[in-house]
Symmetry: C2
Subunit: 385 residues, 2 copies
């Protein structure tokens, strides 16, 4: 049984990780959150990245919804929402990539995931504070994402059209989760329509049958493309997507889909695991050629946290021993290496291949209040059930 | 004395590195060069990156000019030039970033360094094969670079104008070298005018007096900006720029400029040197905060090769003992770690912090026939003089 882990995850969430963000991240002067925080709690950069602003709103709103109605948490969610609502978008409703501390735009809306996380944030906020304008922001942002879907980077897309048109895994993957997150606003019909198409795309196109692995980029027609992008694997991405798909399978009572997602998850995990030093590689090349990403062999927090969620979900669905053993193995690696034994609080994010802390940060440009607390919450509540 | 190294560098260039590219890199079917070559000589990717195509043309033309009139080398330079001349540019004369094997465009001309290296290639080619159209390509490309200078990425620039306008070090740095490379086409007056302004910019603005270091990004007004980009240091970049500036100082018989460049070079080298494991860091943060670049602590070939060139030049200018000692130290590290003792040929490019080979490639998307042979040639000929 894995149930005894529930308490461990709950304690870490409520006594270490959430208090870290409550204490360190609020910008009381200009609104929004600081995310660039080092292991001494110092703010080392004040820029505001929309992904991370939105994710923290979502996280605190989710805590209110799923843990307890806590006014302090709600205030924190609202604090970020005020900032984002006022300063996060350009005149067309696209979400910027980043702002300076005061909220002035720094980087244009080239990155559709800013929009995805903003929709997620305001969708969740509406559930704890049902103001119509929050629902409106979530819905219009979601519609805009669907509109931009074929060319998410818009005019910032540097790819020459026609020679090698690729589609990337990240957006379909996020849509699996985002649609479910917004079901209360979109209605189940729209959720069905969006998720049926993306699940089909993931399980039949991005999933590469010959290798049993999920590709990060495929041709528009769904074929493998032998190039740097086409050969790229991101095991953590694929594993995270599989727990999104398990959730969709459970929602649709489609046991085959859940089983298929579990199977792919295990294949990714076994392939991505570093047998020499432990942990899961960040990037790999399906032909074992040198990848472009110089950081390919590093061990990243979100990869491991999302794997624990996927394994906890698998275990509760099937109670099988393989899930239990893998959960224990990944749990041990993750808690021993990413957790900050000295200072407590939020976990470290970036380890080198050997598992040593590579950057002494708790948050930065790409790491905020999201994967660690969401993962702890998901594992806790999954195993407690 | 360092002169005894001259022979070592010459032998490595002529017996190992040049033969590697002669043997492995020619695409006899579609023209141009392969650059993605692993340590067994296998071509693992066939895309053609304009930077690297142009640099190899330049390198083989330079060998013809500076080593010997070798018909085989000239043929190799012409082989790449035919491919690039036919397929490298868009309708406006901007150079693409990459092409597929056949020469069809893959990535749009968002990167002005494609243009810089193309101008360098055709400028040098004209010296060994004085066809007017080569001069024409080099000159019009150079004019286009100057026109695009204020906003090199053009419509692909994602920065929101007005909030934080930065200027980057790389273009002024390259212009120091490129102008000199094209002096036979531009005339000394234009070279003076371009280089005076960029040398002033580098030595008085990018050079940050308080720290004694060169910043990668400064405000348009020339100030330090406390942000990820503003705090960024790239010691190898700064060191390479200093040997370009030494060359300009020698050309202008400006001893003060040469001395100042030497001083800055040493400050960068001392700051960038990894006292624990040896080698020079790739990226650093001037406030010692966590940098964005996850690969920041890796050791890259070009950084070390360009440092050897800078030290050899410094030594021949001043004969000082500090330059000699540093040359020997960097030489030992570089030859022990980057050189491929097992297979010979071109050197490795990417080591982890501890100096272990990180990618088993001799060439890739960013590494081709350029820094190693150019560095070996420069050190050889500098020390032999």
């Amino acid at each position: 049984m894995l149930n005894h882990y529930a308490e461990t995850y709950k304690n870490e969430l409520l006594n270490e990780v959430v208090p870290f963000w409550e204490k360190n991240s609020l910008d009381k002067e200009y609104g929004g959150y600081f995310t660039c925080i080092d292991n001494s709690g110092e703010i080392y950069d004040t820029d505001k990245f929309i992904w991370l602003q939105a994710r923290q709103i979502w996280m605190f709103a989710t805590l209110c919804q799923k843990v307890q109605k806590n006014e302090a948490w709600k205030k924190i969610a609202m604090h970020g929402a005020r900032f984002l609502e006022k300063q996060g978008r350009d005149e067309f409703g696209n979400w910027y990539f980043s702002l300076n501390q005061k909220g002035e735009p720094l980087v244009q809306p080239y990155n559709i995931f800013s929009d995805c996380f903003a929709a997620m944030a305001f969708g969740k906020l509406y559930e704890i504070e049902p103001k119509e304008r929050y629902a409106e922001i979530a819905k219009t942002t979601f519609e805009n994402i669907l509109k931009r879907r074929e060319n998410p980077k818009g005019k910032y897309n540097k790819i020459y059209r026609g020679t090698r048109n690729l589609q990337n895994f990240a957006l379909p993957m996020i849509l699996c989760n985002l649609s479910l997150e917004l079901e209360h606003l979109l209605g189940s019909e729209q959720v069905d329509s969006v998720t049926d198409s993306v699940v089909n795309l993931i399980m039949n196109k991005f999933y590469h049958k010959e290798s049993g692995l999920v590709l990060e980029n495929i041709s528009v027609g769904g074929e493998f493309v032998d190039s740097f992008e086409g050969r790229l694997l991101n095991p953590g991405h694929a594993i995270e997507a599989m727990w999104f798909i398990m959730n969709l399978g459970i929602r649709k009572k489609d046991i085959d889909l859940v089983k298929k997602a579990e199977k792919i998850m295990f294949q990714q995990l076994e392939y991505g695991w570093d047998n020499e030093y432990g942990g899961i590689f960040y990037f790999m090349d399906i032909k074992n050629h040198p990848p472009q990403q110089l950081e390919h062999d590093q061990k990243l927090w979100w990869v491991h946290v999302e794997t624990l969620v996927a394994l906890a979900k698998t275990y509760t669905c099937t109670q099988n021993d393989k899930a239990k053993k893998w959960f224990e193995k990944v749990h041990d690696y993750t808690w021993n290496h990413f957790r900050d034994k000295e200072n407590g609080g939020e976990w470290y994010g970036y380890l080198n291949r050997k598992g040593e802390v590579h950057l002494n940060l708790k948050g930065g440009k790409w790491k905020g209040c999201f994967h660690v607390p969401r993962g702890l919450l998901e594992v806790w509540q999954t195993l407690e059930r």
